[in-house]
């Protein structure tokens, strides 16, 4: 497996996990926040599909989703749902950032666009949750 394939496989796994995570997020939100969660989930599905198409075109089989995922903490109300949304986006941002050194050209452009989208959504969720500051200096940097 090339470095690029390895990196994109990790990003793929993070997108699968994000889609799963938003299922739990959306179930505990209402109104505009729930609509935002649905939009975010759709964005991750689109990104996953676009990444799968890229990997297949490069003869690299995209890894499938796991059968089950373990949430990092119980999601029982609006506050914990918003916390999970931030957590999901931060995790996906890290996965995309780690793919940057291993990729180049259009594939790196694709990866940095994904990193940007994750960082923007994380900031929106922090705002929704009332977290200050809503931004972090180095989105996707290893914690």
């Amino acid at each position: 497996m090339t470095d690029s394939t390895e990196a994109l496989s990790l990003a793929m796994a993070a997108e699968h996990a994000a889609i799963f995570g938003y299922g739990a997020v959306g179930a505990r939100l209402t109104g505009s926040a729930q609509a935002a969660a649905r939009q975010a989930e759709a964005a991750h599905r689109d990104r996953r599909d676009a990444l799968a198409a890229r990997m297949i075109a490069a003869s690299a089989p995209p890894p499938p989703a796991d059968a089950a995922y373990q949430l990092p903490f119980p999601v029982t109300d609006r506050a914990s749902a918003l916390r999970l949304a931030v957590h999901v986006e931060e995790g996906a941002a890290r996965a995309w950032r780690q793919g940057l050194p291993a990729t180049s050209g259009e594939t790196r452009r694709f990866a940095v666009a994904a990193l940007i989208d994750c960082a923007v959504r994380a900031a929106r969720w922090r705002r929704t949750a009332g977290t200050q500051p809503a931004t972090v200096p180095f989105p996707g940097a290893p914690a």
């Binding site: 890894p63 373990q70 999901v88 050194p101 290893p142």
Partner: protein, 170 residues
């Protein structure tokens, strides 16, 4: 040399139970990201490994980053009510400048030329910052796409931070 960004070599395993599937071996855990970085030799902030000699062409981006931070300072002077909201963003630009300077092996420069006029009204000031952040985001994306593997992660994070700043300016 102080670097505000965590080193990519640091293990990611702590706290990260989520995104680890029931079959952790499938690699969903972002702990795997550290492995990937190791595999790709992405020791972004190893010091003294030719940072100063590697061609990068990032001095322009570094200068513009310093200017972005200065623009926030000027805006806070012109519209003090914005200070609580935009101080963390100003600090992020300062941190970016320091990390960039460290990564390319130069000191953080003084802003030159000094930024121009800042509108004294809130909407005008926010609009000017918004347009500066968008331009800065696009410049960082372009630099990231062209960068060596060693600098790609830092530049990607800077681009993502600038995009996220737009959420604060809305």
């Amino acid at each position: 040399m102080r670097n505000p960004e965590p080193s990519p070599e640091r293990p990611l395993t702590s706290r990260r139970t989520f995104l680890r599937g029931a079959a952790a071996v499938a690699g969903v855990s972002l702990a795997g990201a550290a492995t990937a970085s190791a595999l790709t030799g992405c020791d972004v902030f190893s010091k003294g490994t030719g940072a100063a000699t590697e061609p990068h062409g990032l001095e322009g981006l570094l200068g513009a980053t310093v200017a972005l931070g200065d623009q926030y300072d000027l805006t806070m002077s012109a519209v003090p009510a914005l200070a609580p909201a935009i101080t963390p963003v100003r600090d992020a630009h300062r941190a970016h400048a320091q990390a960039l300077a460290d990564a390319i092996g130069v000191p953080v420069p003084a802003a030159s030329p000094p930024p121009g006029q800042v509108p004294a009204d809130r909407p005008g000031a926010l609009a000017q910052l918004t347009s500066a952040e968008k331009a800065g985001r696009d410049a960082a994306v372009a630099a990231c796409v062209e960068a060596t593997p060693r600098l790609a992660g830092l530049l990607g994070s800077i681009a993502a931070a600038r995009a996220s700043h737009l959420e604060v300016l809305r």
